[in-house]
Amino acid sequence: MLTKDQIAQRIAKEVKNGQYINLGIGIPTLVANYIPDQLEVVLQSENGLLGIGPFPTEEEIDPDLINAGKQTVTMAKGSALFNSAESFAMIRGGHVHLTILGAMEVSENGDISNWKIPGKMVKGMGGAMDLVASADNIIVAMQHCSRSGESKLLAECSLPITGIRCVKKIVTDLAVLEISPSGGFILRERAPGVSIEEIKSKTAGKMIIEGEIPEMIFE
């Protein structure tokens, strides 16, 4: 089973040179730590910054400079600042290539639920609905099962939907899976020491297994 950091590390391998990327809160934020230095990529923060730098030192902290998770940040060289309408214009317009975000559930046709649990306090969708409706490539980072042990990879989402037919790939603590254009979770990689049977038993939606399924390799 992968740690959160290992999930982030595996997702970082999906990043391509020259990409503009939006990282959601939680595990996705950790992805930034594992993007190889030789790749030139730019991180977008939907509150109005292209080019998120590292977290600041105590001396660098500026309350006027935060990311979408409200954390204090710095700006990378070559950054640009803009307003919220411009920010979502670049998201909706497809200029942000890759969105990495967390989920409560993903369905076998790529629907995602991550904003609302009926009966619990609703905090709102923030920018998630815009992000999943817009980017060409959407990767979900999440645990394979909920805390109570229920599969989060389902035939259909049971929770209110955030976006339909949008997720392309899922990296969990157990596996890397792709959404088949015709529906179904295509198993691509296993976490070290995790068997196909275990993944199968913990995937409630349709799983597609073709050929050898390699174990992930971490340097």
């Binding site: 923060s45 939907e46 509150n47 109005g48 910054l49 590292p54 977290f55 600041p56 030192t57 105590e58 902290i61 500026d62 309350p63 006027d64 400079l65 935060i66 990311n67 979408a68 998770g69 409200k70 954390q71 204090t72 940040v73 600042l81 803009f82 307003n83 919220s84 309408a85 920010s87 979502f88 214009a89 998201i91 909706r92 629907d111 306090m121 609703v122 905090k123 709102g124 969708m125 923030g126 920018g127 998630a128 609905m129 815009d130 409706a133 817009s134 209110p160 939907i161 955030t162 976006g163 339909i164 037919r165």
Partner: protein, 231 residues
């Protein structure tokens, strides 16, 4: 140039009535109009509808207006981080309209730009789509969303001039420039107010045409929600 200067926050918000619609700039606690919020707290008004991406925290920002029961309804994209908010919502004292953040931003921009409605992909297939017209363009589905306008918009900028031109700093820009365009009366509080002509026309984020009242604020606390430092 037209002089938009008012004395202070108290004068700027003096005529905001009960039951009106306000827009307030800011994302989280960054770029919020701290001085105007304080001045509103001294006013005896209620029933406000506030359009703001977030709703502050219990003891800061819009959270203070909530605590004083001045707010009837919030139109926001994300409203966590606030226990009093949750209490009022669950007890039915407070209404909330949750809107995808990009749709919220674009609806506000449309309000200022004279665009009564537009199509956007956000929310297709979700409960956000309920009751809304949808249409396919180039093989993809979109929802029709309408403009948002307010009686007053209250924004916070870094620098401003007496003609109402504004410059923001860092990510404190966020919703402020678009909200400035969508209020019948826009009130701007700035950290530094300079005479018209002192700002470079090429560096202005909000042209003065959108701003009706401007003043230099004081004692900015600029509270940080998630103080995160590198190791």
């Amino acid at each position: 140039m037209i002089n938009k200067t008012v004395k202070n926050a108290r004068e700027a918000v003096a005529d905001i009535p009960s039951n009106c619609m306000l827009m307030m700039g800011g994302f989280g606690l960054t770029g919020i109009p701290e001085n105007c919020i304080s001045a509103l707290l001294e006013r005896d008004i209620s029933g406000l509808t506030i359009v703001s991406n977030n709703a502050g925290v219990d003891d800061f920002g819009i959270g203070l207006l909530l605590k004083k029961r001045m707010v009837k309804k919030m139109i926001s994209s994300y409203v966590g981080e606030n226990a009093e908010f949750e209490r009022q919502l669950l007890s039915g004292e407070l209404e909330v309209d949750l809107i995808p953040q990009g749709t919220l931003a674009e609806r506000v921009r449309a309000g200022g730009a004279g665009i009564p409605a537009f199509f956007t992909p956000a929310g297709v297939g979700t409960e956000v789509a309920e009751g809304k017209e949808s249409r396919e363009f180039d093989g993809k589905m979109y929802l029709l969303e309408s403009w948002l306008k307010a009686d007053f918009s209250i924004v916070k900028a870094w620098k401003g001039d007496t003609a109402g031109n504004l410059i923001f700093k860092g990510t404190a820009r966020n919703f402020n420039p678009i909200m400035a365009t969508a209020g019948k009366i826009c009130i701007a509080e700035v950290e530094e107010l300079v005479p018209a002509g002192d700002l470079n026309p090429n560096e202005i984020h909000t042209p003065g045409i959108y701003v009706q009242r401007i003043f230099q604020g004081e004692n900015y606390e600029k509270r940080i929600e998630q103080r995160t430092v590198s190791q």
